[in-house]
Amino acid sequence: MKINVEYVAQMKKVAGINSETVTLPDGAPVQALVTKLADDHDQPFRDVLLDANASLRKSTLVFIGDDQIEWEVLRELADGDRVTILAPLAGG
C-alpha cells in the first residue's frame, strides 16, 4: 500500500522535502511507517524524529488524516492514508 507522508516545520528541513510517498506492506501500523522513515533518511532526520532509545520523540505529533494519533496505541494504516509528522515550532 502507498502512504502519503507530509512534514511540518523542522521535519521539512531535516527531510529536505515537504512530502513523500512510502510503500508499506498492507495492514502495516503507523509505527512501522516511522521506523521505515528513520531507516530511509539520514542522521539529522533521525535526531529530530527519534529519541535516544530510537522511539518517537514525545513532542513529535503524528496525524492520520486530520486526527492526531495516540502513539502508544497500535494503529493500522490503509492504502492512500495521509500521515502528517509535525515537529514542535515556537517561532514568534
Binding site: A9, Q10, K13, K58, S59, E70, T84, P88, G91, G92
Partner: protein, 256 residues
C-alpha cells in the same frame, strides 16, 4: 467571563463596522472594552496580534517584550519603527498602539515572561496570547494559565509553516500535552517572513476576539496548521494526555 464596559459615542463611531458582525454586536464590543489581554512578546507574531486587538478595541493590552529594537526586527515586528532603533521594544510597541487607538490602555513591560513575572501578568489578564520564540517562556505561560484557569491562544511559526490552537485548561490539550519536552533542535533564530507570522497572527487575534466576546467557533481541541509555501490550511484534531503533568489533574467535561 469578561465584564462588559459601557460604550461611549466615540466607541460606537469607531467600532461601528465590526459591531455589524452577526453574533458580535454592541454586547461583544462592550466585552472587548472590558477585557485585559496579555501578549507575550511583540515580535513578528505578537506585533500584529496586539495591533489587531488594539484596532478592535480591547480595553487593556499588556505587552511583555524585553530588549531594544534591532534592524533585523523590522522585517516582521510591525510595532517596531526605524526611528526607535536601539531603544526599548516595549516603548515602540506602546507608541504605535497608542497612535492607532488612544482610547484603550496600553501597558508595555520591558521584559520577557519569566518565573519572576509570569504569575502576576497572567493573573491580571482575562486572556493570554503566547507569541514567544522560546519554549521555556511558552511552557512557563502554559503552566500558569492552567494553574489560573485562563484561556491562552497559542500561536507559533517556523519558515513558511505556522500553527495555532486555543488552550482552555481542562477542555483542550495544554502545551505540555502537545509537547511534553522541548525539542532538542529548536533555536531562537529561525527563517521568517513578516507576512507568514502576520497571517497566523491575524487568525490568533480573531481567536482572542471570539473567545472574549463569545461568538463563533474557536480552535479548542484543534490545531490550525498552515503552510504558506503551498498555501494550505488544515484543522487537525489534537489530544489531551491523561498523564500530562501540567493539566492531567483537570477533569474534562462529560461531553469531551
Amino acid at each position: 467571563m469578561v465584564q462588559q464596559t459601557a460604550l461611549t459615542d466615540i466607541d460606537r463611531a469607531r467600532y461601528e463596522w465590526q459591531v455589524w458582525t452577526p453574533g458580535f454586536g454592541e454586547e461583544g464590543q462592550a466585552k472587548l472594552k472590558g477585557a485585559t489581554v496579555l501578549v507575550s512578546r511583540c515580535g513578528g507574531l505578537g506585533s500584529p496580534v496586539a495591533y489587531e486587538l488594539a484596532a478592535a478595541g480591547v480595553g487593556h493590552l499588556i505587552i511583555a517584550h524585553g530588549g531594544n529594537v534591532k534592524p533585523s526586527d523590522l522585517n516582521r515586528q510591525l510595532l517596531m519603527t526605524n526611528d526607535w532603533l536601539g531603544r526599548p521594544r516595549s516603548e515602540s510597541a506602546e507608541r504605535r498602539l497608542r497612535d492607532l487607538n488612544p482610547y484603550i490602555e496600553v501597558e508595555g513591560i520591558n521584559s520577557n515572561i519569566s518565573e519572576d513575572n509570569v504569575a502576576e501578568l497572567v493573573g491580571r489578564a482575562d486572556l493570554v496570547v503566547d507569541a514567544a520564540p522560546l519554549f521555556e517562556e511558552r511552557f512557563l505561560m502554559n503552566r500558569e494559565v492552567v494553574r489560573q484557569g485562563k484561556v491562552m491562544v497559542e500561536a507559533a511559526m517556523y519558515d513558511t509553516d505556522a500553527s495555532l490552537t486555543t488552550i482552555v485548561p481542562g477542555l483542550s490539550p495544554c502545551l505540555a500535552c502537545l509537547f511534553p519536552e522541548p525539542p532538542p533542535a529548536w533555536k531562537r533564530e529561525f527563517p521568517v517572513f513578516g507576512a507568514v507570522s502576520g497571517t497566523i497572527a491575524c487568525v490568533a487575534a480573531m481567536e482572542a476576539i471570539k473567545t472574549l466576546a463569545g461568538f463563533g467557533q474557536t480552535l479548542v481541541g484543534q490545531m490550525l496548521v498552515a503552510d504558506l509555501r503551498d498555501v494550505e490550511f488544515r484543522k487537525m484534531k489534537v489530544l489531551r494526555r491523561p498523564d500530562c503533568p501540567v493539566c492531567g489533574h483537570l477533569e474534562s467535561p462529560a461531553q469531551d
